[in-house]
């Protein structure tokens, strides 16, 4: 099954424009006007043909030898490379390996020193951060406690006026003795009429005005 990755990472496009897009498709027949057309064969004189054959034969022979030369050279090079990897090159390789290891160690040391320093800085920064956070938390807690204490003080002050089982009878008596009616109405002028069943006389203001004018 095709994986999605292989589709996304493919090296060449899915749709490639063909070089022969302008040609007519293969399944179309020969055009009517071209049915009886016989393409003209190239006429090569006998002399030229022989000359070309000679040249080609020469060329092919030379090319074969060139090819063989490069092929043999490749084989020789490969074999020399392989033989070189026996003693001399092994010694050289070992030396190079030691050199590489030394270089690597020195780099590692340097990197380790850098890392140590960096870690120190990081730990210091972390400590500072943690301390800051702890301080902030302490402050918050203190503020909360202070707020709660204030609340408690207020409640204690208020508790003197609370109705307790001892004072409940007196409170009931007091309430019965002093009934409070919260019903009231307000007219457009802002006059307040207390009580639920208070009778309101209309045109009261006019009458008053008239009375004042009379007087």
């Amino acid at each position: 099954m095709l994986s999605q990755n292989s589709l996304l990472k493919r090296t060449w496009p899915m749709l490639v424009q063909s070089m022969e897009a302008h040609r007519k498709p293969r399944w179309l027949p020969v055009a009517k006007s071209k049915i009886y057309r016989i393409p003209k064969r190239p006429v090569i004189p006998e002399e030229e043909r022989l000359e070309l054959m000679r040249l080609h034969n020469n060329y092919k022979t030379q090319m074969r030898s060139i090819r063989r030369f490069y092929h043999e050279e490749m084989i020789k090079e490969r074999s020399s490379r392989e033989s070189a990897s026996s003693e001399m090159s092994k010694r050289i390789e070992a030396e190079e390996w030691v050199k590489c290891v030394e270089l690597n160690d020195s780099w590692n040391k340097q990197v380790a020193a850098e890392r140590e320093e960096r870690r120190k800085h990081e730990v210091a920064a972390l400590e500072e951060y943690a301390l800051k956070r702890m301080e902030a938390l302490d402050k918050l807690k203190e503020a909360k406690i202070a707020k709660a204490a204030e609340e408690i003080r207020k409640q204690k002050e208020l508790s003197k006026t609370f109705i307790t089982p001892e004072t409940i009878d007196a409170a009931i008596d007091h309430a019965i003795a002093n009934p409070v009616d919260y019903n009231f109405a307000i007219d457009l002028k802002g006059n307040k009429y207390e009580g639920r069943d208070t009778q309101i006389t209309r045109n009261q203001g006019k009458q008053e005005k008239a009375a004042s004018a009379n007087a």
Partner: protein
């Protein structure tokens, strides 16, 4: 979408046949060719194994057609048994890396012949004009 690099992806099968060929890289009315090594059965639009040179068929200001060749790598690929197409073989022949291709000889003598014929025609016309005078 990322197009494959023209200089080659370096991916190939060791046992598959290779060919050193010209691959057209120019645009409309401006041909330019890369000399690349690819699998013999690959299309010219597909990624090549390696680019070995370039060929600019349009003469420049100094009337030169420039060819660049990486002969070291061409030697390597010939050693690996890569085939060489005819146009590339002609270019290599003219550069002195291969023997001159027979086709180059043929083109040369045909061009010479047409030139000779043209000259003869011109001379004949001149003679005719003189005769009429």
């Amino acid at each position: 979408m990322v197009l494959p690099p023209a200089s080659g992806t370096g991916k190939y099968f060791v046992t598959a046949a290779k060919s050193i060929r010209l691959i057209r890289q120019g645009c409309t009315n401006r041909p330019f060719f890369h000399i690349s090594v690819t699998h013999r059965k690959r299309l010219n639009t597909q990624p090549v194994i390696e680019q070995l040179g370039s060929y600019d068929p349009m003469p420049n200001a100094n009337n030169e057609k420039l060819v660049a060749l990486n002969l070291e790598r061409i030697k390597f690929w010939l050693g690996q048994g890569a085939h060489v197409t005819e146009p590339v073989a002609e270019l290599l022949g003219l550069s002195g890396f291969f023997p001159i291709h027979p086709r180059s000889y043929m083109m040369a003598w045909r061009n010479r012949r047409t030139e000779r014929e043209n000259l003869a025609k011109q001379e004949a016309e001149k003679a005719k004009e003189e005769a009429t005078k």
